[in-house]
């Protein structure tokens, strides 16, 4: 099974587009509805992956398998959110936690598991639902907005809506931002305090305020 794929990313950092060359007979796992263009000899199959957990993440529950038949094929993959794309090759012994809507594509040798965040996730508004990625192979994930890599040495605080991914060796706790007054008035909601040594990828935008902004533009429903 192919673990690494020839690929390139263009349109960075705001509208990143991933192009992957799939060798003949090999398969690539791609987030549902992310395909922008593809060669005609790529065959698409839909499977349910990651279990029912994904039903609640607001994420579509389907990951598509694209297999190249009778020759190599090229596919261009576009995430829905405007932003950047990161390529992270997993080395088999590490775990990467991804914010649920950040998954874009991976080699079939990477296992993607939605991990239930329990109570904590409900209040963040951004839905701090995490997918746990393990295995060895190529993984691509996207950010909403620009992505900033932070090397955590001791501790670091990130608004839950701005988390894209973090390495498995970090411990984290979700807490309120400031006192009670801050919870409701600060606009910040919940923050995540990371501790230990590892890497956090943060995105410069949050989905919550964007949906509030978009709300007035929604057409009126017909009665």
């Amino acid at each position: 099974m192919e673990n690494t794929f020839e690929h390139y990313i263009e349109g960075r950092p705001d509208f990143a587009l991933l192009t992957v060359k799939i060798p003949s007979g090999q398969t690539l796992k791609v987030e549902a509805s992310a395909m922008a263009t593809m060669d005609t000899n790529l065959k698409m199959k839909t499977k349910m992956k990651g279990g029912f957990g994904r039903l609640f993440t607001g994420e579509s529950i389907f990951i598509n398998d694209f297999t190249a038949e009778n020759g190599a094929a090229e596919i261009k993959i576009a995430p829905s959110a405007p932003g950047d794309l990161i390529h992270y090759p997993l080395n088999g012994s590490e775990t990467l936690y991804l914010q649920s809507s950040a998954f874009v594509a991976s080699a079939p040798s990477v296992t993607v598991n939605s991990k239930w965040q329990g109570f904590k996730g409900f209040f963040s508004g951004a839905g701090l639902f995490l997918a746990q990625c393990t295995g060895s192979g190529d993984l691509w994930f996207n950010s909403f907005g620009g992505v900033i890599e932070i090397d955590v040495k001791d501790s670091y605080v990130v608004d839950t809506g701005n988390i894209v991914a973090f390495t498995g060796n970090l411990s984290y706790t979700v807490t309120r931002f400031g006192g009670y007054k801050s919870l409701f008035f600060s606009g910040e909601g919940l923050v995540c305090r990371f501790q230990g040594e590892g890497k956090v990828w943060i995105q410069t935008r949050k989905i919550g305020p964007l949906t509030s902004w978009a709300h007035p533009f929604r057409p009126e429903g017909k009665n």
Binding site: E10, S33, M35, T40, G58, F62, K76, A78, S80
Partner: protein, 219 residues
């Protein structure tokens, strides 16, 4: 006239430097700011009937604006588009190019805008019956939501319908299912466009429908 694209690639906008007496035609609402010596005249986009057809199927406005430099010095006009993204200036030399509705921004006066029958398949694909065709000689400015990527097609190629921006008029577009019935509708890809022929197509790396589908999940 000098046309300069800047702010690439996320928020591309155009600086147009008009010589005295020069005119550029732009989509209604495309002006961000301009020097005071430029005048605006609203005109119908190719006549009333064509304008109406375009508005309801092509997605372009009924009216376009003619911006003319009435002073005796060079004046700058800044043009933009409703969505963030990239733009492209295409030089047409007695040629035509087809654009997805909504991507037209501006053109010089030697280019005429018309509608082109796109076929029933296009309607099923959700894109409308007509496409906008720009023909003539001059500069054509168009844009998209996302980055613009050129692809040379020789034979056939599959494009998610909401990502296709422009194509050469002689190329054929066909709508088809992206996978088997189950895969197509549950896989999220639905219907896609199959492009056939030899020529250059332009795709955008994001789509408005992709963005709203993502936002809609949170409402």
């Amino acid at each position: 006239m000098e046309i300069n694209l800047t702010g690439k690639p996320a928020f591309t906008y155009v600086n147009v430097d008009l010589q005295p007496g020069e005119t550029i035609i732009a989509e209604a609402d495309a002006m961000a700011s301009m020097a005071a010596g430029i005048s605006i005249l609203a005109k119908t986009n190719g006549g009333i009937i064509a304008g109406l057809v375009k508005k309801f199927v092509g997605g372009e406005s009924f009216f376009v604006n003619h911006f003319t430099n009435n002073s005796n010095k060079v004046q700058r006009l800044v043009l933009t588009q409703p969505t963030p993204g990239d733009m492209k200036v295409m030089e047409l030399n007695d040629q035509s190019y087809c654009l997805q509705g909504g991507s037209y921004i501006a053109c010089t006066s030697g280019i005429k805008l018309g509608v082109k029958w796109a076929g029933f398949a296009s309607l099923i694909g959700g894109e409308g019956l007509f496409k906008l065709q720009a023909s003539g000689t001059g500069q054509l400015i168009f844009g998209a939501y996302g980055a613009l990527i050129e692809k040379d097609v020789d034979g056939e190629y599959i494009v998610d319908t909401s990502h296709l921006v422009g194509y050469e008029p002689h190329m054929k577009l066909k709508t088809q299912l992206s996978g088997g019935i189950f895969s197509s509708f549950f896989g999220g890809e639905g219907l896609v466009t199959r492009v056939e022929g030899k020529g250059k197509i332009i795709i955008q790396s994001r789509s408005v429908s992709g963005l709203t589908a993502w936002l809609n999940r949170y409402f």
